[in-house]
Symmetry: C2
Subunit: 149 residues, 2 copies
């Protein structure tokens, strides 16, 4: 079953499909499906919130394996903004994460930049950079009024 998922992941036709599968893999704590989304390039990079930089598939896999060993992650991508060219998609996402604590479920936000590149194997992830966002649901800073001076 894991192999079947991994194979289907390798044929993603759009960056939107790749991104959906990225977050599904986190919700399912499915390591094989997660790694099938990533490019095989030795220079792929992954930064988890509050963490250092991971470079290359081996390091990226080891970190997700450690994360998934503690369980799945209740994460939903929201407020997506994309810059897309013919072969690349830069997706900026506010990740809504629900964490179960001793005081009940708490909601947090993470800011993530995901970069997908089109390859012969479909759209693949080459960079995921995530950092802690705001406690409350954030408004994009582009909605601030213009100041003319």
């Amino acid at each position: 079953m894991a192999d079947l998922k991994a194979r289907s992941a390798a044929l993603m036709d759009t960056p939107e499909e790749a991104e959906a599968q990225f977050y599904e893999s986190m919700r399912d704590a499915d390591l094989e499906r997660m790694m099938a989304i990533w490019s095989d390039d030795e220079d792929i990079v992954c930064v988890h919130p509050g963490g250092g930089r991971l470079v290359g598939p081996r390091a990226v896999r080891a970190a997700f394996e450690a994360i998934f060993s503690t369980g799945s992650i209740a994460v939903e991508p929201e407020h997506v903004r994309r810059v897309q060219t013919m072969g690349t998609c830069v997706s900026s996402v506010l990740e809504r994460v629900d964490m179960v604590t001793s005081e009940g479920t708490r909601r947090g936000w993470i800011v993530a930049t995901n970069v997908y590149v089109k390859s012969a194997q479909g759209w693949r992830l080459v960079a995921h950079h995530a950092s802690p966002g705001l406690i409350d649901e954030p408004a994009d800073a582009d909605e601030a009024p213009a100041v003319l001076h």
Copy 2:
């Protein structure tokens, strides 16, 4: 002079030139030169260390204006890893920042992901995501020994 710089910035032939100018602009606190590197796309995104997401040229400019109003930044990009396709370059950088404090100069590290896209106006920045790194100079996690099991 600022106009001259801005015009020359608009003709960058390589992502390496664009990145060099990005960090020079920070060291010079040169807002016009900085903004000349960015794409005009309304979906450009910028995340400063510990900050929320800024979307669009107006919000990005306002934040750099606020930063530069307090002075320049002694920053050097190091440990650069790049994934490059025909029209896009994803550059992962460890930014070495020297900060002058009451206890002398302190060195810090910031992890940054910079994405450049080739356009008719040369290579332009579409995303800059930076988050606090480690206190000591970091080793890349790709140098960990392989565990076969």
